[in-house]
């Protein structure tokens, strides 16, 4: 199934990517080329095959439910684009 311009705009919105209008035709063409490659998968018979998520089939380790991390707020906020009083600043969400 080939994507058209509106599909690409929808995917870009889902991924929160602001595309330049002028780039959309080229992006659409490239995505269709990639999806053409990927669609070769559909010819493979995988009936009865279990999906493989972790190559060594390892499961998530659990740890003791105890505080292990100290607060790194100052270090982490030192590299943030905009902070005030220990909070991250974003444009106003509510009027």
């Amino acid at each position: 199934m080939a994507l058209d311009r509106s599909d690409v705009e929808k995917i870009a919105h889902l991924a929160r990517l602001g595309l330049n209008d002028a780039d959309i035709p080229r992006t659409t063409e490239a995505l269709n080329s990639i999806l053409g490659l990927i669609d070769q998968m559909q010819a493979v018979d995988t009936t009865g095959i279990e999906p493989l998520a972790h190559p060594l089939e390892a499961s998530q380790r659990l740890r003791v439910d105890a505080v292990t991390e100290i607060n790194h707020r100052d270090a982490y906020q030192a590299i943030a684009p905009a902070v005030q009083d220990g909070l991250y600043l974003v444009p106003k969400v509510l009027d």
């Binding site: 994507l3 690409v8 995917i11 870009a12 919105h13 889902l14 991924a15 929160r16 990517l17 602001g18 595309l19 330049n20 780039d23 992006t27 490239a30 995505l31 080329s33 990639i34 999806l35 053409g36 490659l37 990927i38 669609d39 070769q40 998968m41 559909q42 493979v44 995988t46 095959i49 279990e50 999906p51 493989l52 998520a53 972790h54 190559p55 060594l56 390892a58 998530q60 380790r61 740890r63 790194h72 270090a75 982490y76 030192a78 590299i79 943030a80 684009p81 905009a82 991250y88 974003v90 444009p91 106003k92 969400v93």
Partner: protein, 483 residues
């Protein structure tokens, strides 16, 4: 001095022939002189390097020993380095100074290594040519018109040009092995879970693995020793003992069973590479190996499955770059959605955006089963192929790449053309197996690599085979003219 391998440096430092500081200053001068031709570094950490070299010399003077004590290296610019820019070759992280060290960086630093800088790469490790970097393409020292491979292309070019003896890389679909092949290096992608991913900026979390790039298998053994091992901070790290890799290098290859998959010799393979692969098999036979034809029937499905799994995981991993907590933020956002969209649209380059969108599409409602789940089922078929093969052979041998290094720009028109260069490497990532590329000759002056694959946690076997091969061949000792 710059021609020395890590093993030679270790002996020279131990014998007090030179100090780490002398060596470090020599290499920093060489980087300043020659790297403008290559663009292999994003950041040169001169002050840090001198400080670390002096500290290593002081540790040695106090009686400490260690093969990596005072050894210079560089890190691919996706390993977090505390207080040092960690850009992932992206405008998105051009201003990002990591607040902590990656486990790999911390372990190698504790062993006494000296960090000369951070190497160039494809943006967010997405590419096989090192052309997608925000900081510009890296040139191949064997021919400056050609790509060095990717995504660890800066590490490859720098080590190949003798700017330093070794570097770290990461490999999600071939990003250590393919640039190693294209620049005449030895590069190892370990078993998934062997080396900690903590502090490695994630591309595709179920495929990413860090490993060493150097000129010899012996040097890769030294570096891997410093990198490998369980890490509680990486939830996919495997708690498995780390063997002494250097001690295993000299084991005999008598009776080693080498499998050569018949599917490897398909129409896409450059015949000159096919000939060099078979020549390497003949060398290994002289060392006592026996060769058997095997089959990997699902090989052809690996690229399509990879280009679902990797972008899907990337679209999830890269959602953290939102212009709020770190990294690039657009000017004057009019609302929160505009902040997200323009920060990401302006901060990510075209290939990264394509992969995010492919992943977002593959994971979107109604498509998950057809794409991601089908890809994971194919992933199991590929793993099963390997398990069947390893019931009959000890290692699998073939080309690392279908072609030698191509001209910069030659594959830019269609992203698929570059994807196909990963044909031989990505199966090891999908199956989680260790893989190594070693120099095996030249095609019109451009290096050719041979890839070896082994069962889980048999990195030592790969290093052993490559080291024995390097005892009877001299491809790996050749250096590019002008460097």
């Amino acid at each position: 001095m710059h021609q020395m391998t890590l093993a030679e440096i270790a002996r020279g430092l131990a014998d007090k022939k030179f100090s780490s500081e002398e060596l470090t200053r020599t290499l920093l001068a060489r980087i300043a002189q020659l790297d403008p031709q290559l663009n292999s570094f994003i950041t040169v950490t001169e002050d840090l390097a001198i400080t670390q070299a002096q500290a290593a010399d002081a540790r040695r003077a106090a009686g400490e020993t260690g093969a990596l004590l005072g050894a210079p290296l560089a890190h691919k610019d996706l390993f977090c380095t505390k207080g040092v820019r960690t850009s992932c070759a992206s405008k998105m992280l051009d201003n990002f100074k990591a607040p902590y060290d990656a486990t790999v960086v911390a372990r190698l630093a504790a062993a006494g290594t000296v960090t000369l800088g951070k190497t160039n790469m494809d943006e967010f490790a997405m590419g096989s040519a090192n052309e997608s970097s925000h900081y510009g393409a890296v040139k191949n020292p064997w021919n400056l018109q050609h790509v060095p491979g990717g995504s660890s292309g800066g590490s490859a070019a720098a080590v190949a040009a003798r700017l330093l003896p070794g570097a770290t890389g990461t490999d999600t679909g071939g990003s250590i092995r393919q640039p190693a092949a294209l620049t005449n290096l030895t590069g190892l992608k370990p078993t998934y879970g062997r080396v900690s991913r903590w502090g490695m900026i994630a591309y595709a979390s179920s495929l990413d693995q860090a490993g060493p790039m150097a000129r010899t298998a012996e040097d890769c053994a030294l570096l891997l020793q410093g990198m490998a091992g369980f890490d509680v901070n990486d939830s996919t790290s495997i708690d498995e003992p780390v063997p002494d890799y250097s001690a295993g290098l000299n084991a005999s290859l008598q009776g080693l069973r080498i499998g050569v998959p018949k599917e490897y010799f398909s129409a896409g393979l450059d015949p000159r590479i096919a000939d060099l692969v078979m020549a390497s098999v003949e060398e290994l036979k002289k060392l006592g190996a026996v060769v058997k034809e095997i089959s990997l029937p699902n090989l052809q499905h690996a690229i399509p499955a990879y280009y679902v799994i990797a972008p899907a995981e990337a679209s999830s991993n890269l959602s953290r770059f939102d212009g709020v907590r770190f990294g690039y933020r657009c000017e004057d956002p009019k609302d929160l959605t505009d902040l997200y969209k323009r920060s990401r649209g302006e901060g990510f380059g075209p290939e990264v955006q394509r992969r995010i969108m492919v992943g977002a599409y593959a994971l979107s409602a109604g498509y998950y089963d057809a794409y991601y789940l089908q890809a994971q089922k194919i992933r199991r078929l590929i793993k099963n192929d390997f398990m069947n093969a390893f019931a009959e052979v000890d290692v699998i041998l073939g080309p690392t790449t279908p072609n030698p290094a191509w001209k910069i720009g030659a594959k830019n028109a269609d992203p698929i053309a570059e994807y196909l260069e990963d044909f031989y490497t990505i199966t090891a990532n999908l199956a989680g197996l260790p893989g190594l590329s070693m120099p095996a000759g030249f095609a019109d002056g451009l290096p050719v690599g041979v890839q070896l694959l082994a069962p889980y946690f048999q990195e030592g076997r790969l290093l052993n085979v490559a080291h024995q091969y390097q005892q009877v061949t001299d491809w790996h000792t050749r250096s590019p003219a002008g460097f």
